[in-house]
Structures are given as C-alpha cells and as structure tokens.
Amino acid sequence: MKRHDTKGFTLIETIYAMAILGILSIALTSMIMLIINTYKNSKEQFNATLLAQLHFERIKASYIEKAEEIIIKSGDLQVTIDIAEAEKYKNRLFKITVEVMKGEKSLERIEGYKLICLREIEHEKNSE
C-alpha cells in the first residue's frame, strides 16, 4: 500500500509544529527580555550600593569642616553627597546623605552621621 506509507512528515504536521514553535518563541522572547532586565537591574543595584558605601565611608573617614554638596560622576551613575550640619550638636555632628542616581532614578540612598571630635577646638577655647 504505497499510498498510505507514513514515513516522513506531512505538510500539516510541519505547519502545526511551526505554529507551536512560533507561539513558544513569542513567550520565550518576553521571558528572555525579563531575564536580561532583571540581571541588569541586579547588577546596577549592586554597583550602586557599593558606590554609595564607598563614598559614605570615605566621607566618614575624612575631616569635615563645613556643610556642602558634592556631585561625582561615575560612568552613567551620578553620586550626590550632601553634608549638612546638625545644629543641635554645635558642629559635633554632620548629617551625611549619599544618593546614587541613574538619570532621574534613585538606585541607592545611604544616610548617617559623621561625628567630629572637638577636643582641639575646645582646648583652644579653654586656653583663651
């Protein structure tokens, strides 16, 4: 019965298979995009956290004399360091805010204080 030989794929089968693959590829493309975006965001977040921590620790380790705002560019990220006086503590304490931004989007923000030792200043005041 040559006419009913079932060897090989029929056209209908191939069309069905291609249709299924087409639908799957659409679903998988959006999944791949999601994976890529999540991976990119994750990497950005990690870099932003490290950058914010680096600048925060650097400010904590340095001597601060006055309130100021420092803006630093690092690749496509912008780091804004805001140093503000805490008036309640007569220049003993400065509030430090480090914010890492990409365009308008804030990726990381660290806040804390920097304690200033007034030992030398007070000594001078007392000797007067």
Binding site: H4, T6, F9, E13, I20, I35, Y39, T49, Y113, E122
Partner: protein
C-alpha cells in the same frame, strides 16, 4: 488505517513538545535564579542602609553624651569661678548630675534617661533605631554602655559602645578639661 511499528505520523509534534518542555524548564530555572540574585542584592542594600541607621543612632547618642557633659562642665566651671562650691561638693554633685539626683543642675534627668528618650534624637523623625543604655556607677567613674539596634524582618543590625566617664577630682581640673577628655576607653562592637 493500521499503524505500523515504523510509522512516524505525529512524531514532529512530540519532538516539538519535548523541545518546548526543555526550553520552558531551562528558562524558568534561569529566571528564578536571576530573580533570586536580584532579591539578594536588594537585601544587601537594605542591610547596609539599616546598619548605617543603627550607627547613626550610636553616633548621635555619643554626640548627645558629649553635649551633656559639656553643659555639666560649663555649669560647674562657672560656679567654681564664683567660689560657690568646694572640690568635694563638685565631685559628688557631678556624680549626682549624671545619675539625675542633683538639686542644683537645671536638667533633672539622668544621662541614661536623656539617651533613651526617643524625642531627643534628630534621627527619630524617620528611621529610629532602638537605643538601650546602661549606666553603672564605679568608685571614680561611670561605665556607660549604649546599644543601638535596627531590626526589620529577620535581620538585626546592632552596634554597641562602651566607655568610661571620669569624674573630675577637683575644681581646678574643670578649667582645662573638655567633655572629650572625660570619656575614655571607648570600645565599639558590631553584631548582626
């Protein structure tokens, strides 16, 4: 129509479905691993932020202690100049002020009460860490231990500071001494 053992009718569909299943499984695993990685990065960011809030609480408590001691020193120095009090009185009264049992100093709260009052903190407006204070009186000094905690979820960031607060021995010391000179043997400790 009788199916033979060599029949391949429908085989391509089976093949496509198997490929589909493998690809969906592989991409799902990849996606879940990437999402987990993202969550870990977010958690890392949160832990670091909270650590700095806890540290800010401790820094502010330390600054508050310095301010308080400065005010006490100024008060006693001014009164010493006017010869109102003798050395022994100053020594004992200084201790009473720190303990909150003085009748002469304008602030009747003890140092521990001031440090544990949430309203005294600038940081309390938004992110207030829990502050615990232990103040122990020894023969010639006070032992001060400040603990600052910040806890959200299951992660606890804690920092502590232990120090000695010396009591000025006589009125002449008040002239050259600063609040920073009174605080000695600082010991900082971090826990998580």
């Amino acid at each position: 129509m009788k199916k033979t053992a060599n029949s391949k009718r429908g085989a391509i569909i089976v093949f496509v479905l198997i490929i589909n299943a493998i690809m969906i499984f592989a991409f799902t695993v990849l996606l879940s691993s990437v999402v987990m990685d993202f969550k870990m990065k977010k958690l890392n960011s949160k832990i670091k932020k909270e650590f700095y809030y806890a540290e800010a609480g401790l820094d502010e408590a330390y600054a508050m202690t310095l301010e308080y001691l400065s005010a006490v020193l100024d008060y006693f120095y001014e009164n010493r100049i006017e010869n109102k009090y003798g050395d022994e009185y100053i020594y004992n009264e200084f201790k009473n002020v720190i303990k909150g049992s003085s009748n002469c100093f304008y602030d009747k709260d003890s140092l521990a009460e001031i440090l544990t009052d949430k309203d005294n903190y600038l940081i309390s407006n938004e992110y207030y860490p829990m502050i615990d204070v232990e103040l122990k009186e020894e023969q010639e000094y006070f032992l001060l231990k400040i603990n600052s905690y910040y806890k959200t979820g299951e992660v606890l960031n804690s920092l502590s500071l232990s120090c000695k607060i010396s009591v000025p021995g006589n009125g002449n010391e008040l002239k050259n001494i600063t609040a920073e000179n009174l605080i000695t043997d600082n010991y900082w400790n971090i826990g998580r």
